[in-house]
């Protein structure tokens, strides 16, 4: 069933339809949150809060809007809020988290290592650059969609992506051309 069909049912109060949307988008929200918060547990909390807020607001969702963009608008704001309140807490490095998770991880070692290295590189970007890079290259969003989600103008977003790419280039070259 398409997003539009599920959303239409969810707007009418169909909880199963909303749950299906949540299952469909959980993964992309979770990976965005993990990059922004650099902590799996916090990311899981933020993603759950995002979906619950969206659930409470779904009946006001205006048809014709894109659900995914709307959802990401909520998510990005939740991530920003959570990041602000966590400033004083010590951050764990993503490498440590990947190592902890690897016991239950069935992916090939090479994939785990690549993911871990790329994640560390992206995580080293300052927040707004990281956010722009992930929305563009991980989530594949258009600049117009990114503008809606972040509230920033398109030229500002392009500048952020450029600066992110400039900072990442040497690190990614090192990862992929070893």
């Amino acid at each position: 069933m398409t997003d539009d069909a599920l959303v239409a049912r969810a707007v009418d109060g169909d909880v199963d339809a909303y749950a299906a949307l949540a299952e469909r988008y959980y993964g992309s929200c979770a990976r965005m949150a993990r990059r922004m918060l650099r902590n799996d547990a916090d990311a899981e909390d933020v993603v759950q809060e995002t979906f619950l807020r969206a659930f409470r607001a779904i009946r006001r969702f205006e048809r014709g809007r894109e659900f995914r963009v709307w959802l990401f608008t909520i998510l990005v704001n939740q991530c920003r809020t959570a990041a602000t309140s966590r400033k004083r807490r010590q951050l764990r490095f993503s490498n440590d988290e990947t190592a902890l998770a690897s016991a239950a991880d069935e992916r090939p070692v090479a994939v785990i290592e690549e993911t871990s290295a790329v994640a560390a590189a992206v995580d080293s970007l300052e927040p707004l650059l990281r956010e722009a890079f992930v929305l563009k290259y991980v989530e594949g969003l258009e600049y117009t969609e990114m503008a809606t989600i972040t509230g920033a103008g398109i030229s500002a977003l392009k500048m952020r992506v450029k600066r992110a790419c400039d900072a990442l280039r040497p690190k990614l070259e090192a990862i992929y051309h070893e």
Binding site: V11, D12, A22, A30, R35, L52, T115, V122, C165, R169
Partner: protein, 181 residues
């Protein structure tokens, strides 16, 4: 490195970060359970705003957009002498709607009835969740609120908030357009 190579580099990095993570399955299941639990929570009068979309729109359309061309306000001139006083304006009937399934009684209060909770009781309708009343209002800006069960003053969740908080609480605003504007 060429621009194309650069772009490939970043696309490849993006793809690397798109893979699923261990723990996602468990978290996804926990999320669905949380959503179902949220759907079972009872709604109070304050959360009446989250009721079906058309009620919210109806309340917004009549309580706020009355006189703004939505066609929802019942346009009936009041025959009372007070109308002839307002020679530069006219009265329009505005319907106020409020969703409060658990309420025993709901009244409309505002600057048009001296904020008297006994003056304008609302009528329950539509499967007992919706309360409504239609009142004649002069053109202009009015403030109002709902009084639930005799002592709980609640702003209209669908309407603009009044900036004034004279007595600790904001009310809601309705603008009634002049027939001739």
């Amino acid at each position: 490195m060429s621009d194309v190579d650069s772009e490939d580099l970043f696309e490849r990095a993006g793809a690397a970060l798109r893979g699923p993570s261990p723990g996602d399955e468990r978290a996804r299941a926990a999320l669905v359970e949380a959503i179902r639990a949220e759907s079972r929570r009872p709604r109070t009068a304050h959360r009446g705003a989250m009721s079906p979309w058309w009620i919210a729109v109806a309340a917004a359309a009549v309580a706020f957009a009355a006189g703004l061309g939505t066609g929802r306000a019942m346009d009936r001139r009041s025959p009372s002498p007070a109308t002839s006083v307002a020679s530069d304006s006219s009265q329009r009937h505005v319907e106020f709607v409020f969703v409060a399934p658990a309420a025993r009684n709901v009244a409309l209060v505002g600057d048009f009835n001296g904020w008297d909770a006994t003056a304008t009781p609302m009528r329950r309708s539509d499967g007992h969740a919706t309360w409504s009343v239609s009142v004649p209002l002069a053109a202009g800006r009015h403030v109002y609120a709902f009084v639930v069960d005799g002592n709980d003053w609640v702003a209209d969740p669908q309407a603009p908030l009044s900036p004034e908080q004279w007595f600790g609480q904001r009310n809601s605003v309705v603008v009634v357009g002049d027939r001739r504007s």
